[in-house]
Amino acid sequence: MQPCSREMQAMNSLLNQTQQIPLQDLQSNGHQQIQNPQFEPTSSHDDFLEQMLSTLPSCSWSDLKSPWDPPKSDETGPSNPDNNVGFHYDEILASKLRQHQINGGGGSSPATAAMKMIMQQQMMLAGRTAAGGGGGLTMPLSLGSGAAGSHHNDIIDGSSFKSPNHQGGDGSVQALYNGFGAESLHGTSQPSNQPQHFHHPQGGTTQAQNFGATAGTVMNQSQAGGSTTGGTPTQPKQRVRARRGQATDPHSIAERLRRERIAERMKALQELVPNGNKTDKASMLDEIIDYVKFLQLQVKVLSMSRLGGAPLVADMPSEGGGDCIQTSGKGGSVPRNSNGNQTSSTNDSLTVTEHQVAKLMEQDMGSAMQYLQGKGLCLMPISLATAISTATCHSRNPMINPNNSSSNHPLLQASGEGPSSPSISVLTVQSTTMGNGCVDGSVKDAASVSKP
């Protein structure tokens, strides 16, 4: 008994640590499949059976049986040690059994069915330790049913029980539980059958263990190759229970966590960034980049606006990332803006600007345009200017683009000169304009509204 119990203890502990039971799933699936696996264990897992059998060398089955044969003779002795040994497997379950006063109900199938229902619920509560024993104890069910072929099914059940990732394993897990219930019944109520049962469960547990190893490794997407060591899934450390359909490899878990965190952050960014309705992550990131560039440009532009437009023409297009921004046309009012000093009036500064532009235009049109751009102004045909002014002079905040909010001042100041239209449609691609001052044709008649 001693060597047997030792080995069984070892295996039990190993099995316990490898249990990954999605109890919730089992519970949900349980009640439907309560009856079926009991009577037809082959129904739902033929493919899994074949997979397992193909990967496992067939010799392992008989090899595993042999170590248990000698101790079998010990089991024929007093029933007490058998009970004790059996108790390792289903100590919790048996205690619950006795609580419910189940006696000799193993023979009658309706009773066993009812028992199994109760046992299942208890199994949920019992948890892994009980289920660990159940892996091996399904054998007696097949023994009881007398189907030799179902041996393998139950073993498969045990293995699939250990690897709940397998989708079709639920039915087999139910079979496991049912078998466990039956076995506990058998174990407690039919001592005569115990030697047999212990033989098979032990062989079954080792077999199941190996199956579990292979299943685990297969589930973990590595070729098991019928490994008989069983050491791969049976590491004596606490394993995280995986959700259905997901691997339990620590690396993949970390990877998954990382991806989830990144997805969270992307969602938060999506809310911040306008046009954040892109589903594609890459395009979303592009939007984010553009938006950050745009905001930085806005800060630059705003800081420039306080100066009254700096001739940073060379920098501007490169900064804008392609879309040129017309700085605010506050050329005249800037002195007022920055320090509140009442300097030369708007008209004066604009006149000065006009003269400057005229001078530059005589020399070089390009430089004139650049100067204007630096001031945040553009040239526009008179007709267009008047059209825009009439269109926009009514509202104080002509907001074609909701991002813009500050086009007041140009309107107010440039009443005489020209409209300050947001003219986003005309000038800018992105909505950064504070408002555009336009020098209308009083300076020149021309021509180009500068920028896209």
Partner: protein, 173 residues
């Protein structure tokens, strides 16, 4: 994960605004009102922009990686400006700053190399690097932190822009 960083806190605004206004008044007190030469204009613009960034970074303190990086950059720049005027110490501090820069760069490169692999796994090919260039101090961050910092940085930038716009509007009336 951190819901607080999702709210553009009004406290940020209230911290940023007085600092920025103070900086602005200081700048305006220094120079004449309407500088003529473009160079002066440019300098003034630069000063304002730096003031804006600085006050923003100071408002955030050192709670964020990007603010720390920005502060470090500003300080090193001011250091360099100081040393350029004082030739004696220029060699020392320039070497110090250059050494710091190289150290930072190498560490960033190392981390960059380490993180780009992960970026490719997630699916961002070259964009994460671009983002790292844009966000100050982004070189040393993995993608997860980078996105976090970007979120906060965007929030701060928007508050900055809002405040500046309001100032401009106020003065234009």
């Amino acid at each position: 994960m951190n819901p607080s960083h999702l709210n553009p806190s009004s406290s940020l605004k209230s911290r940023f605004t007085p600092r920025f206004l103070r900086a602005l008044t200081k700048i305006n007190a220094q120079k004449p009102i309407s500088p003529s030469s473009p160079r002066e204009i440019f300098q003034r613009y630069r000063r304002i922009k730096v003031a804006a960034d600085k006050s923003m970074a100071y408002s955030v303190r050192s709670r964020r990686i990007w603010s720390r990086a920005m502060l470090w950059k500003l300080r090193s720049r001011s250091c360099r400006q100081l040393t350029s005027s004082r030739r004696r110490r220029s060699v020392k501090t320039s070497t110090i700053t250059s050494r710091k820069a190289t150290m930072k760069k190498t560490s960033h490169e190392k981390e960059n190399k380490a993180t780009t692999g992960e970026d490719h796994q997630v699916g961002f090919v070259g964009q994460a690097d671009e983002l790292r260039e844009i966000v100050p101090g982004g070189e040393a961050m993995d993608l997860c932190n980078l996105l976090d910092e970007t979120t906060h940085y965007i929030m701060c930038l928007t508050t900055q822009v809002q405040v500046m716009r309001k100032i401009v509007d106020f003065y234009s009336l």
